[in-house]
C-alpha cells in the first residue's frame, strides 16, 4: 500500500536549534517525494522536492531509498519556520499526491 508516515504531530524547538521533521514512506516503484508547508492563514505551498536537490529557506531533505525516508532538516530554526509541514509522494510525472498527516513545528524565541 502507498503510505506516508509522519510520526510526530508536534515538534517544538527553540530558535537556533536544529530541526528534523521525520517522514517515512511505503511505495512500490520509484516515487517522487515532496515537502509542503502551510504557514498560519496561508495556503498550502511547495517547500521542496527531492529531484530538485535544492535548499529552500535553509531546509534540505535527502531521499534515502534504503530506509524509505525523506526527513526534512534545518540546522538553525527560525521563529518564522513555525508552520504545518506535510510530506507527500506521487508516482513520477503525475499529480496524484499522497500526503502524510503533517507535523506542526513550533519555534520558540
Amino acid at each position: 500500500a502507498q503510505r506516508v508516515t509522519q510520526p510526530e504531530k508536534l515538534l517544538s524547538v527553540f530558535k537556533g536549534a536544529p530541526v528534523e521533521l521525520k517522514c517515512n514512506y511505503s511505495y512500490s516503484g520509484s516515487p517522487e517525494l515532496f515537502w509542503y508547508v502551510q504557514y498560519s492563514r496561508q495556503r498550502l505551498q511547495l517547500l521542496l522536492r527531492h529531484i530538485s536537490r535544492e535548499s529552500i529557506k535553509g531546509f534540505t531533505a535527502d531521499l534515502n531509498k534504503g530506509e524509505t525516508s525523506f526527513h526534512l532538516k534545518k540546522p538553525f530554526a527560525q521563529e518564522e519556520d513555525s508552520a504545518m509541514y506535510y510530506c507527500a509522494l506521487t508516482k513520477y510525472n503525475t499529480d496524484k499526491l499522497i500526503f502524510g498527516t503533517g507535523t506542526r513545528l513550533q519555534v520558540f524565541p
Binding site: 515532496f34 495556503r43 498550502l44 511547495l46 510525472n93 503525475t94 499529480d95 500526503f99 502524510g100 503533517g102
Partner: protein, 114 residues
C-alpha cells in the same frame, strides 16, 4: 495572477443535500486536482482532470464527481451529503504530469454538513 481561486469560501449544508464547489486554475495550467482535508489529517486525493479528461480518481464513493471545462476551471460535486463529508476541500493546479513547479493549491472551501 491571483493564483488558484476557489469558491465559495465557506458553505453550510444539511445531510442529504447536494453541493458544487468551484476552482479556477492558474493561467496556463491545464491540470486540476481535488483533495479533501479532514481536521487533523493530511489532504486526501479525490480527482485529477487534465485537458478535460479524468486522469485519476481516489478512493471516494460515486457520490463525488467532477468535471473540467474548456477554460480549465473545474467543479466538484458531492451528492447526498453525509456528516463525514465535512472538511476543507482543496483544489490544486499544475501544468500537468507533475510539472517542474509541482502543484499550486487554492485556499480551499470549508464545507460543514449539519
Amino acid at each position: 495572477d491571483a493564483g488558484v481561486t476557489q469558491s465559495p469560501t465557506h458553505l453550510i449544508k444539511t445531510r442529504g443535500q447536494q453541493v458544487t464547489l468551484r476552482c479556477s486554475p492558474i493561467s496556463g495550467h491545464k491540470s486540476v486536482s481535488w483533495y479533501q482535508q479532514v481536521l487533523g489529517q493530511g489532504p486526501q486525493f479525490i480527482f485529477q482532470y487534465y485537458e478535460k479528461e479524468e486522469r485519476g480518481r481516489g478512493n471516494f464513493p460515486d457520490r463525488f464527481s467532477a468535471r473540467q471545462f474548456p477554460n480549465y476551471s473545474s467543479e466538484l460535486n458531492v451528492n447526498a451529503l453525509l456528516l463525514g463529508d465535512s472538511a476543507l476541500y482543496l483544489c490544486a493546479s499544475s501544468s500537468g504530469g507533475g510539472g517542474p513547479s509541482g502543484q499550486f493549491f487554492g485556499p480551499g472551501t470549508r464545507l460543514t454538513v449539519l
